[in-house]
Point group: C2
Chain length 207, copies 2
DNA sequence: CGAAGGGTTGAATAGTTTCAACCCCTGTGG
DNA sequence: CCACAGGGGTTGAAACTATTCAACCCTTCG
């Protein structure tokens, strides 16, 4: 919404409601009729799907500033995944119907939606490529590299959420994440709770 | 483009060029500067990425009517995957810069882009879920179910492309696809070249 | 002190990839 | 007319990677 003109911004905000959820609350389920899309204000939301055995697979983890469900703006009358609060969260909920109309009226809103969808699509395609090309330690290494500021030398990161959520985000079982961290130990990665020390960023790039 | 008004359609077509490529031709590579997006008119295009060992992973297989690269309309100055003709193809190439301007002028063009991006995003998210939830035989069964017209009883499908391309699309090595087909034999799936017979669609759903 | 949640570890297992051999079909050239 | 080469596909064996299940550890909190 940062690029909207003031009047468009007002209209968008008018179609939104701010809500809170507690950790583990379900925002919606796969198949529920969809009339809203969401934007995360604080906390993390987990989007996931179930197979018929009831096993869960995370599709995406959304943090503050991320939007989800906006792909239903044009087609689709029901959500095709579940959304769950991974911790206590606040979110903005936008009425799909209203925003659909706004997008037809206001160029800048339509452009903002295109922008948002494009980013999501690129992120999601990159995720497929990573799933298909990288092993567990490589995924973890990449996550660390993307989330540490320094381009060389040493670095340290504090995970913004539980390790089990990171595991889901990377398409791994929690045990696999744990083992990936231990296998990165000999590349100079030290883990203590949520704090992660990286001795040499370039060494990680070699993984 | 089916939903565009005639004047918008004319403008879009004016920003497009029709091209042909031969099988295995590379349309563009990861990292190439991006000034166009594409729409497939006939044949199939393979979008894929490489890891540093040179191993390839398909991200998407585009057939007639599919669009790719449109996620670069707002951000991004280079392609983030490779595109290769999987057979002799004809495609329409749209100038990103021009379409970007058109989207700002014409509501229906912006809406068509939103529509297109939404569909791509949903498809891509479904792909992640499938990769993370399903085994090889399940992926193949799902592909067959999605591509056979009949809702029950028997059915037959002719694959529109080589099996190796299907393997890539499903995130499998060609050998794994072959084995998946043999494991589906006892569920009533018979394969002869590109022709596939399904004895009982409901039996496939149980996989 | 005890319980609970999150995380780690080990062992067994499942699923897929990799590599190599082979098959089948088609098209080509002697 | 036959031999052969090449592409696409299949099959087997071995290797690898991740999952599953169970046990256990550690910290926090009542």
């Amino acid at each position: 919404m940062a690029d909207l003109t003031p009047p468009s911004l007002v209209k968008m905000l008018a179609s939104a409601t701010v809500l809170s959820f507690e950790s583990r609350d379900i925002l919606f389920r796969e198949g529920d009729p969809a009339d809203c899309f969401y934007s995360v204000l604080s906390g993390y939301v987990r989007l996931y799907r179930l197979n018929k055995d009831g096993r869960e697979a995370d599709i995406r983890v959304c943090g503050a500033g991320d939007t989800f469900g906006e792909c239903l703006l044009t087609t689709g009358d029901s959500y095709d995944y579940n959304a769950q609060a991974a911790e206590n969260i606040t979110i903005a909920r936008f009425n799909l119907q209203k925003v659909r109309q706004l997008a037809q009226q206001e160029h800048d809103i339509a452009c903002a939606i295109i922008h948002c969808l494009s980013n999501d699509l690129r992120r999601t395609m990159a995720c497929i490529a990573n799933d298909r090309l990288q092993t567990a330690p490589q995924r973890v290494a990449q996550y660390l590299l993307e989330n540490c500021q320094s381009a060389m030398g040493s670095a340290s990161i504090r995970l913004p959420f539980q390790k089990s959520l990171l595991a889901g985000k990377l398409g791994l079982a929690p045990e696999a994440l744990s083992r990936a961290f231990s296998s990165l130990r000999h590349s100079g990665v030290t883990v203590r709770g949520r704090m992660i020390q990286i001795a040499d960023v370039n060494a990680l790039r070699q993984i």
